[in-house]
């Protein structure tokens, strides 16, 4: 193909190049300023979470793009059922008395013929509608089968409890989220201490946890918490409705397809520039300290922070920080005066590196455009 698109400006090459480069740079700057303006407006509250999303969805009300999924099948079916009956009782009322009489007479005379024709039509329509029912039933059976083949959840009695009170990573989470103007949800919030720390720092935070019992202290103190699991909750939140999401606890042992679903939900439910904070044990620490029963029965296990970073980046997040913490069971080095200090310390360093590093980490990420 010959590149015959007229390029901007056909003047002498050297001048052209720098001129063009200038113009491109200038436009890039303008674009950057536009992006910055949009961010400013979001931060100031002029553009509340989810507003653009709602505009898009409002238009859908006017468009033929309608229902998704099961509801569409069932509803369309009721329409088909409704229209499968053909009524031959032609309305006969008329403004004129005579007219009414005439119409009724005609109807009676042709009734036998109409009956026959209509019976054929109704039979056809009904068999079509039956066909749809068969298809819908079949699809629903398939869906149920797929659902039933899932691996079982970790039994609720074994689920490791969220530690109560404040954690090593709470201050870092609060720092990351302070200044977020939209609602922030804390998943697996346990006794709600992080929710309260965030609220105290001026963040509009609320918490969710599948366990009623764990939530009781929080509910007693009047914190904004409720009994729901993270995935189920994010599914009933609308797109771009949240300024921040904190994940801990069950995020560590999700089965792989749930992890994918969680990332998809997190990336769409957050506003652009929204913050995701994810806390997890390191895989090594999990292997060493979680109970064998939990380790064996949990459908999934903790990932390395690099893996989370990779998964998040693939969904349009930028990782802004990875912070290590938790119990640090590292061995202390021996003093220089001890026997064979150098060899011992080298061994200690190796053991620390391989086995005993920080047991937990925190990943902080921002949703890009």
């Amino acid at each position: 193909m010959s590149p015959d698109v007229p390029a901007p400006d056909g003047g002498p090459d050297a001048d052209v190049t720098s001129d063009v480069a200038d113009r491109i740079r200038y436009l890039d700057e303008v674009m950057a300023e536009i992006d910055a303006e949009v961010r400013r407006r979001r931060a100031s509250g002029d553009l509340p979470a989810g507003l653009e999303q709602e505009l898009d969805e409002l238009f859908l009300e006017f468009s033929p793009v309608g229902l998704q999924g099961r509801a569409r099948l069932r509803e369309t079916l009721s329409l088909v059922d409704g229209s499968a009956y053909v009524d031959i009782a032609v309305p006969t009322s008329s403004n004129k008395a005579v007219g009414s009489y005439v119409k009724r007479a005609i109807r009676k005379g042709l009734g036998w013929y109409m009956n026959f024709v209509v019976a054929q039509i109704v039979k056809f329509a009904w068999s079509v509608s039956r066909m749809f029912h068969v298809v819908v039933d079949h699809i629903e059976d398939l869906e149920a089968t797929v659902e039933a083949n899932r691996s079982p959840d970790l039994p609720s009695g074994l689920v490791p409890a969220t530690p109560t009170g404040s954690t090593w990573w709470a201050p870092a989470a609060v720092d990351a989220l302070v200044g977020v103007s939209d609602r922030v949800v804390v998943g697996d919030c346990g006794d709600g201490s992080l929710v309260e720390a965030l609220t105290a720092a001026g963040v509009d935070a609320y918490g969710i946890d599948p366990s009623d019992i764990a939530l009781e202290p929080a509910l007693d103190r009047g914190a904004d918490v409720r009994a729901e699991p993270v995935l189920g909750h994010l599914a009933v939140v609308s797109d771009e409705a949240l300024g921040g999401i904190v994940l801990t606890g069950s995020v560590q042992w999700l089965r792989p397809n749930e992890r994918v679903r969680l990332l998809d939900l997190a990336s769409t439910r957050l506003v652009v520039d929204g913050i995701l904070v994810l806390h997890s044990s390191s895989p090594a620490a999990w292997a060493a300290t979680a109970s064998p029963v939990v380790r064996d029965l949990a459908p999934g296990q903790p990932l390395h922070p690099e893996t989370w970073a990779h998964l998040l980046r693939s969904r349009g997040f930028t990782v802004t920080a990875t912070i290590f913490g938790g119990d640090d069971r590292q061995l202390a080095r021996v003093g220089a005066g001890a026997a064979d200090a150098a060899e011992v310390n080298a061994a200690i360093d190796a053991i620390n590196d391989l086995l005993l590093g920080p047991t937990e980490y925190l990943v902080v990420a921002t949703r890009e455009r």
Binding site: L55, L58, E61
Partner: protein
């Protein structure tokens, strides 16, 4: 701070779950020194016709300032025609059709909507979701507006006009978790500020008489049903099950239906129908019952279950009803049935095992005391309201009001019967 309730009907004569709940909340809230409460409502008491029967203007009812505005339209036959057409497939009704349904369902009160737009309240609370007053109030309110949906899983819930409207509210107050789950599932508003409040239960106010005496049963043990006697509430099913139970398990057990009668229960030697009784008698009958049975599948909260528990009386509920099941499962204060067999075995066990009844009743009593006493409910409510007011009003996408429907043949109610 000032709260303005917006509700289609209001008054002590109005018998309807949502309207009564709004009134109870209003009356309790205005007892708090730093809270002022007013109610904006229509002049109609009958939601089937929307006839203006009360005078317009301001009155005080049980301490609450009530401002009434005339309705501008009556229910017409067009409503029934459109409802029949749309309820088959509500989700694919167009926005225009669903808005027309809402305006036909009414009540259309332009003056009330103007009052909302000009209100000096800090928060507007709309109750329940189904009516034009709610949709219009949300559209025009300049201050934060919250919704008490009182929602059931019914066709109207799926109209797209509600979906659009509820995206503009600043907070939600639910009766039960089941209601919250339903609303969040349908409207995807999980991140919106919310509280599951339920209702407060009043203190028992019996007259000290024996329930079985009031019923004329002598010493016989009895089950009781409390509420309007109505097919929709499962009374026919209960009478039927009870009759069969008695055939298979002869004893002196009786069943009492206590409440106004809409659909007559079948005659049976062991069934007593009392009709409407006084408050004192109601509490006394309840206190003497072995079990309080609620066969309805459509309760949105079921205050009677809590009332039974304040007296330590165990309950038996319909397993298909999310609200009463939630109470039983969270409290451990009752059993449930989902077929005649399970009904038979539950009743058999409960009637025969006093220890079981005591344990269930105790659990229910503790649960009720912990969650449903008025002081703690109002505390929770005011804390929630303060949070909502602090966040301010979301930008509404629309500020257009519903169209006032004109024309159509007026619908005139015939006969008596209970209110809706």
């Amino acid at each position: 701070m000032k709260l303005a309730f917006v509700t289609p009907r209001f008054g002590t004569e109005v018998i309807g779950g949502a309207e009564t709940a709004a009134r109870m909340l209003a009356e309790r809230l205005c007892l708090r020194p730093d809270w002022e409460v007013e109610v904006l409502t229509s002049c109609a008491l009958d939601h089937l016709t929307w006839e203006n029967t009360e005078p317009a203007g301001s009155t005080v009812v049980n301490g609450v300032t009530v401002r009434r505005f005339p309705t501008a339209s009556r229910r017409t036959l067009d409503y029934f025609a459109l409802d029949g057409e749309l309820r088959v497939a509500p989700e694919i009704a167009s926005l225009a059709q669903s808005r027309r349904w809402i305006s036909l369902n009414g009540p259309m009160c332009p003056d009330l909507v103007d009052a909302v737009a000009e209100s000096d309240a800090d928060i507007i609370a709309c109750y329940p979701y189904l009516f034009a007053t709610t949709v219009d109030a949300i559209a025009v309110s300049k201050v934060p507006v919250i919704l008490h949906p009182a929602a059931h899983d019914e066709p109207a819930l799926y109209f797209s006009a509600f979906r659009r409207s509820f995206r503009d509210i600043d907070g939600l107050v639910y009766h039960t978790r089941a209601e919250r789950d339903l609303m969040e599932d349908v409207f995807k508003i999980g991140a919106r500020p919310q509280v599951v409040l339920g209702l407060g239960v009043n203190d028992p106010a019996g007259g000290g008489r024996r329930g079985s005496e009031i019923l004329g049963l002598g010493d016989r043990p009895y089950l009781c049903y409390l509420g309007r006697v109505d097919e929709h509430k499962g009374c026919g099913m209960l009478a039927d099950y009870f009759a069969r139970f008695k055939e298979r398990n002869p004893s002196d057990l009786a069943l009492a239906f206590v409440g106004p009668v809409s659909d007559a229960a079948p005659d049976h030697p062991d069934i007593v129908v009392t009709g409407t009784v006084s408050e004192a008698d109601k509490w006394d009958i309840l206190a003497g019952a072995r079990v309080m049975v609620n066969p309805s599948a459509y309760e949105s909260f079921s205050l009677v279950v809590l009332e039974a528990w304040t007296l330590g009386v165990p309950v038996l509920v319909n397993g298909a009803c999310a609200a009463t099941m939630e109470h039983c499962q969270r409290s451990g204060g009752g059993l449930w049935f989902d077929s005649f067999r399970s009904f038979e075995s539950a009743v058999g066990r409960l009637v025969g095992d006093a220890g079981l009844r005591a344990v269930l009743g105790e659990s229910g009593k503790r649960y009720t005391a912990r969650n449903y006493l008025w002081p703690s409910i109002i505390d929770q409510y005011t804390a929630f309201l303060e949070g909502v007011a602090a966040r301010g009003r979301r930008a509404p996408l629309r500020t257009t009001r519903l169209d006032l429907h004109a024309g159509g043949t007026a619908y005139v109610r015939t006969g008596g019967g209970g209110h809706g």
